[in-house]
């Protein structure tokens, strides 16, 4: 791969394209966040944007998965996801039960449907 020929065995390239490209947004967030009032309206709006962004990653991972998850059919993925939500509420909002239960349902549904 071409990035290996940067004179540092690729580390400088990874530093630039990995660290700098990522970290600049954290630095910008630090600069803005240090001046922002938690009770103010701008803070509330940014909080809504951040929440929507994280929620957006959820359905993207579920509907357009990467790696081994792509080998599981869409129906099984969505069904196990809904099952995980149901387990979470049935177990009185227990996070461990919801996450582990959903993953267990995925394995069970996949083994049965094969």
């Amino acid at each position: 791969m071409a990035f290996l020929d940067d004179g540092t065995g690729g580390f400088l390239s990874l530093f630039l394209a990995g660290f700098v490209a990522t970290e600049m947004w954290r630095w910008l967030g630090l600069a803005v966040g240090s001046r922002l009032d938690v009770a103010g309206e701008p803070f509330q709006w940014v909080r809504a944007v951040a929440t929507a962004l994280v929620a957006g990653m959820v359905t993207r991972m579920l509907i357009f998965p990467a790696g081994a998850l792509a080998g599981i059919s869409m129906g099984v993925r969505i069904g196990a996801f809904a099952g995980g939500l149901a387990v979470y509420f049935l177990a009185r909002r227990n996070l461990v039960a919801g996450v582990v239960g959903g993953a267990a349902l995925l394995v069970a549904a996949q083994l049965i449907s094969r």
Binding site: M1, A2, F3, F11, L14, F15, A17, G18, F19, V20, A21, T22, E23, W25, R26, L28, G29, L30, V32, G33, S34, L36, D37, F43, W45, V46, R47, A48, V49, A50, T51, A52, L53, V54, A55, G56, M57, V58, T59, R60, M61, I63, F64, G67, A68, L69, G71, F81, G84, L85, N94, L95, V96, V99, V100, G102, A103, V107, Q110, L111
Partner: protein, 247 residues
């Protein structure tokens, strides 16, 4: 709402007293927890991906520590392995990283103590990732102001340890793990995200942001790949803000 059962050390009493103790408590809270399990399994996938892409062991662990954001690490490895230019890869990474800005903006004011600690605040910003942001929203408001920064730094250190451990394990031994197990491990990440968002949502605005974010992102992924998450955040977040304001 902050006492979801996570078992063992995760339910240790809240830190009191010194910043050193708060750091250790923050570290222990995250090292044995659902997010730690989720991070470990996602890092396993990252380590395996790096090896399959022809990267060295040192490259993979270097990235885990300096980037500290799994989706970005995956995008970078994926781009370079497919022969993208360095500039092209950096652009793809930076588009994925935009999400970290609003997350940092909302976490930083919570960490503010009675004294300003500029260098520690830069390290605290480095430790902003989805997992630490979610846990911060959950735990920090209940803590004394001066203990929040060390608590968050402890949590960030725990996440860094899990990421490196997962990357090392994924790089060296993931070939022996059946695909169905890897799939189940990867499946825990979106479930953990959505359940913890629901557990920490406090207002109508939060709930609207979760629902809108979840439903907008697949549409925008098809319409505008690359800027889909940014669009989801801006459109969904603004709508949620308006819904939250209306009486």
């Amino acid at each position: 709402m902050a006492q979801e059962g996570e078992g063992g050390v995760a339910n240790a009493p809240l830190p009191d007293g010194s910043p050193g103790r708060a750091f250790v408590q923050g570290l222990l809270r995250l090292i044995v927890s659902v997010p730690a399990l989720v991070l470990l399994s996602t890092s396993l996938g990252f380590g395996a991906l790096a090896r399959d892409g022809g990267f060295s062991f040192a490259h993979a662990t270097f990235l885990a520590v300096i980037v500290f954001a799994l989706p970005n690490q995956v995008v970078l490895i994926d781009q370079l392995a497919r022969g993208a230019t360095l500039a092209g890869a950096a652009l793809a990474v930076t588009l994925t990283a935009v999400r970290l800005m609003p997350m940092t903006v909302t976490l930083v004011p919570m960490l503010r103590g009675s004294r300003r600690r500029p260098l520690l605040e830069i390290l605290a910003a480095h430790f902003v990732a989805i997992s630490t942001w979610i846990e911060g929203n959950r735990r920090l408001p209940a803590l004394p102001q001066d203990l929040r920064l060390p608590f968050h730094l402890g949590g960030g250190s725990a996440v860094a340890l899990m990421m490196v451990a997962g990357t090392v394990a994924g790089y060296t031994l993931v070939a022996g793990i059946p695909a169905i197990v890897t799939a189940a491990l990867l499946f825990m990440t979106p479930l953990y995200f959505v359940l913890s968002l629901m557990a920490t949502s406090r207002s109508r605005m939060d709930i609207a942001a979760i629902v809108l974010g979840c439903s907008l992102s697949p549409v925008l992924f098809l319409l505008a790949p690359g800027v889909d998450l940014l669009g989801t955040g801006l459109i969904g977040g603004t709508l949620a803000y308006v819904i939250g304001r209306r009486r």
